[in-house]
């Protein structure tokens, strides 16, 4: 099991690196898809099969394909940003070293206690639920009862993103003729003129 974890996480890391470094945007989107697939395999290994499937469907099926579509539509040329590559290495490396140091600082000291505390918070009822119900049932039961507030707020966030997207992109041009359905329906009989075809 642990070997599988190493394989998937290693692949995910390598392909994540390739997403950033590959020159061709299409390649990097494809590597992004590979990252998503590996991560969903990792989630599957945790036993959360529903989340893994959702991850695949949403990220790979929708978002990444949309990315790919946009990249192909835009016809982005292979950009020449390699010149700056060396320029950013020192600062990026420094920051990532700091984070690595932090991670080791956490892991060394308290590797063992994490699980101990986590298990404490699950009540016996919840454990029972986890054993006898499917993933999706447990998720639905929690999401629509205990955390319904979060669900509603997420809905509001989606509403905001919809309004935002419309506001920022919709242009109301004056001289474009549009179909005004309300006006068509509203039109009275006397507004319509019968036109006889011109005879020669």
């Amino acid at each position: 099991m642990i070997e599988l974890f190493y394989i998937f996480s290693g692949l995910a890391l390598v392909s994540a690196l390739l997403v950033i470094t590959s020159r061709n945007p299409i390649h990097s989107v494809l590597f992004l898809i590979l990252v998503f697939c590996n991560v969903s395999a990792l989630i599957l290994m945790l036993g959360a099969e529903f989340m893994a499937m959702i991850f695949l469907i949403v990220y790979v099926g929708a978002i990444a394909v949309l990315f790919l579509f946009v990249v192909m539509m835009l016809n982005v040329k292979i950009s020449e940003y390699r010149d700056n590559y060396i320029y950013y290495v020192p600062i990026g490396g420094f920051i990532s070293l700091i984070f690595l140091f932090e991670i080791f600082m956490i892991l060394d000291l308290q590797n063992n206690q994490i699980n101990a505390i986590n298990v404490l918070t699950l009540s016996s009822y919840e454990k029972l639920q986890l054993d006898y119900m499917t993933n999706i049932e447990v998720l639905g039961e929690i999401l629509y009862t205990d955390y319904f507030y979060c669900f509603i707020i997420s809905g509001m966030i989606l509403l905001v993103s919809m309004i935002g997207a419309i506001v920022l992109t919709l242009y109301k041009k004056k001289h474009v003729k549009r179909q005004e359905i309300a006006q068509q329906v509203y039109a009275q009989m006397d507004g319509i003129r019968l036109v006889t075809p011109i005879q020669k």
Partner: protein, 503 residues
Amino acid sequence: MYPEIFLTATICVLLVYGAFAPKMSTISHKRKTQSIINNNLFFNISWLVIFSLTIALFLLPAVNGSSVTIFNNLLIVDDLTTIVKGIILISSIATLFISMAYVKKESINAFEFTLLLLLAILGLFCLVSSNDLISLYLAIELQSLCLYVVAAFKRDSEHSVEAGLKYFVLGALSSGLLLFGSALIYAYTGTTNFDQLLLLNLSSNLDQAVTTSFHTGFLIGIVFLSFGLLFKLAAVPFHMWAPDVYEGSPTSVTAFFAIVPKIAILAVFTRLYFTVFYDIIYIHLQSQGSIVFLNFCAIGSMVVGAFGALKQHKIKRLLAYSAIGHMGYMLIGISTGTLEGLEALFIYIIIYIIMTIGTFSVVISLRKSKNISDLNGLNQANPLLAFSLAIILFSTAGIPPLAGFFSKLFLFFSAMSSSMYLLVIVGIFTSIVGCFYYLRLIKVAYFSQQLSLSDTRYLFKSIFVTKEISILLGIVFFWLILFIFYPSPLFVVAHKIALALCV
């Protein structure tokens, strides 16, 4: 919870109204042009939003010292939330008046603007009363998504779009930090709920074994969480976005940024620092000096705010740096970790909000309000406006008889009583430097070279003070002057807030 539910319903109804009203009116009045209809629609919706905010003000529950958690402990209602929500409502009504004046001048013909502000207010409400890391994160996302869109609202202007994009990218980074911090806290405690975290911290105080078990990771989680919040507050190491965003976005949006969201984020920040993590931050780590980073943020913000503003030529950029500086003073109140500090913090932020409303209502009344030199000859063109600007700026700088002086005074007192002399010294020094640039604005408005008569007449015509703005300015003006005679209501409010947190 009534105000939130009411606001949500209002948003939905107004959205439908805004979407369908233009079509209705094109059918009934064919002669009116589209822009007039849109403009009318904007004002209709703005007034409706103002009405609904006023109603929400009356819907706020009076809790009187008790605290209630609702929605499976995801939200909390106590004195802090009620009072802060009231302040948010009042200040956002003022901001809406300001934005209406702006729209009269600049004509952004889109009703969604006000609705997005309303959604942001809803997000701030949820943020103030959040009692769980999940609801905290969701509320922050809700309000900041609205603000990203609103910052880029003037999409014809390159500055505005740039501001929106910058704010979006950096805001996403800070949300990432916040989420990472929350994940670490969850990993090391197994809970995201504030009450349970509080219990855990209290028990860690008693039991040395538990303490050592989660210190480092938990602490890093707290630090990341604070980073995310400090970013939203534009405190110093995370202040880079503020000047650009303030400058680029439309002035009414800048007013909203400067006035409304800060108190909500400060409220949740103080809830985290003064109840949830109080023991771990102020008792455990005081000895190890881990609160140093907060002191660093405070000092850094004060210094950057004072010295960054010195060489600015744009009014809005200057106001952004002044906001950073004020945030530094407010962080003093948090880093004292005492009841007096907390009270002083809330007195400071309320006075700051009132002063900022005043400043922005003056700025919005000027037709051209980009450079500082646009204030030239304001005294000749409109002496009353110039005088109120002068009083507001004197108060912001902290000149004695005005309200701004007292807010600084209380903060410095509280810092002195918890023997943080370095913070006080830096604070006094930077407020002296700050005086300089506020006085420079007044100097430009009063003592610049004399304008010719035609120029004065032109300037007089270009200044357009709406009725609402003038009432607002009058209230702010007299409040700032007369605060010294009757300050006790504000003290009572601040004391109530502090008690709600520290019980």
